[in-house]
Symmetry: C2
Subunit: 194 residues, 2 copies
């Protein structure tokens, strides 16, 4: 599948191309998928749902009810316990995106969230001791969410603890996936398109 992509510039934390608030309540939501009929779909898991369902053979969000349930459960946990926690740490307990964007910071809360993310890494380490992928026997959206969390954690210097050997081993395997290898190109900084 090929998608046309274009950068959405940011001015003071506001998506520069979104003069009508179509992208969401705070106008900061990226990525945003624009459908041929003009519909916008934001939020990563929602975009994944849409794209995965297109050909009628979902590969990332599950086919059986049990798979769907477990994948959504584990992806949600990856957000709660890792990705969101790291994001809050970044925006509240580090300089984040700079003083023009981070107009309110709560450092104490931010450091608590870093601790939560480290606890989350231990949780996923436990999960991966007994199964090859985050939601079970197959690669899924839940793995992608954990990968996203660990990439973000690496960028803000919250590495996976050495004792989390199962998580480390799984992450090393994930690095071999073409999508993960190519992510640097995809997320390279771009000039604001204002």
């Amino acid at each position: 599948m090929t998608l046309d992509t274009r950068p959405l510039g940011t001015v003071g934390g506001i998506a520069a191309s979104d003069s009508h608030g179509r992208f969401g309540p705070d106008r900061q939501r990226r990525p945003v998928l624009e459908l041929d009929d003009g519909t916008f779909i934001a939020e990563c898991t929602a975009i994944t749902e849409y794209l995965d369902a297109l050909d009628g053979a979902p590969a990332l969000t599950g086919t059986t009810p049990r798979e769907k349930g477990l994948i959504h459960m584990m992806s949600k946990r990856a957000e709660l316990e890792l990705l969101d926690a790291i994001s809050v740490y970044f925006h509240h307990a580090t300089p984040g995106l700079g003083p023009h964007v981070e107009i309110y910071q709560n450092a104490e809360w931010g450091f608590r969230q870093r601790d939560k993310a480290l606890k989350g890494m231990h949780y996923f380490d436990g999960v991966l001791k007994s199964q090859p992928f985050v939601a079970g026997e197959n690669f899924s959206m839940a793995d992608i969410t954990v990968i996203g969390g660990l990439i973000f954690a690496g960028l803000v210097e919250v590495p996976v603890p050495a004792e989390c050997e199962a998580l480390q081993a799984w992450y090393a395997t994930m690095q071999e996936r073409p999508s993960v290898k190519n992510r640097v190109t995809m997320s390279a900084p771009v000039e604001a398109s204002v």
Copy 2:
């Protein structure tokens, strides 16, 4: 569909029946659905995905890729902008579940989240000005998430602002649904089953 239900007691914030951490990383996750094969599925949206997929005709999570994408987007927004924000307000800026459970509180963050929830109500008011339901033309999981947020908000005395007329009107209609009418019975306090 009929499900056997039983209360999961709480002792100091820990689900009393979960001695093996099966319910999630912090052992506080409710509700939990136990399948016939012994699998546990937690996280509300994941349980909804599972149950909704069982008969092959999902009524709450969408059938077309576009519906799936929009429903997941709006449900996620209802969590981010309303339900989660109210929950953090409750646990951090009010006595919450009491001193034995709320061992760490960050009141400043809690009040910020109350403000965020009020902003979220205005966002959903705007959405409901142009469409009958949260994710479009049909009732979906996204409506349920907003209903959950507003019920919680009412309990902690953060009512819908009077000027949010579309949200008020939609919420009045939602109150007529049997599932919403019956929720008081379902969520009545129960003794801890320890």
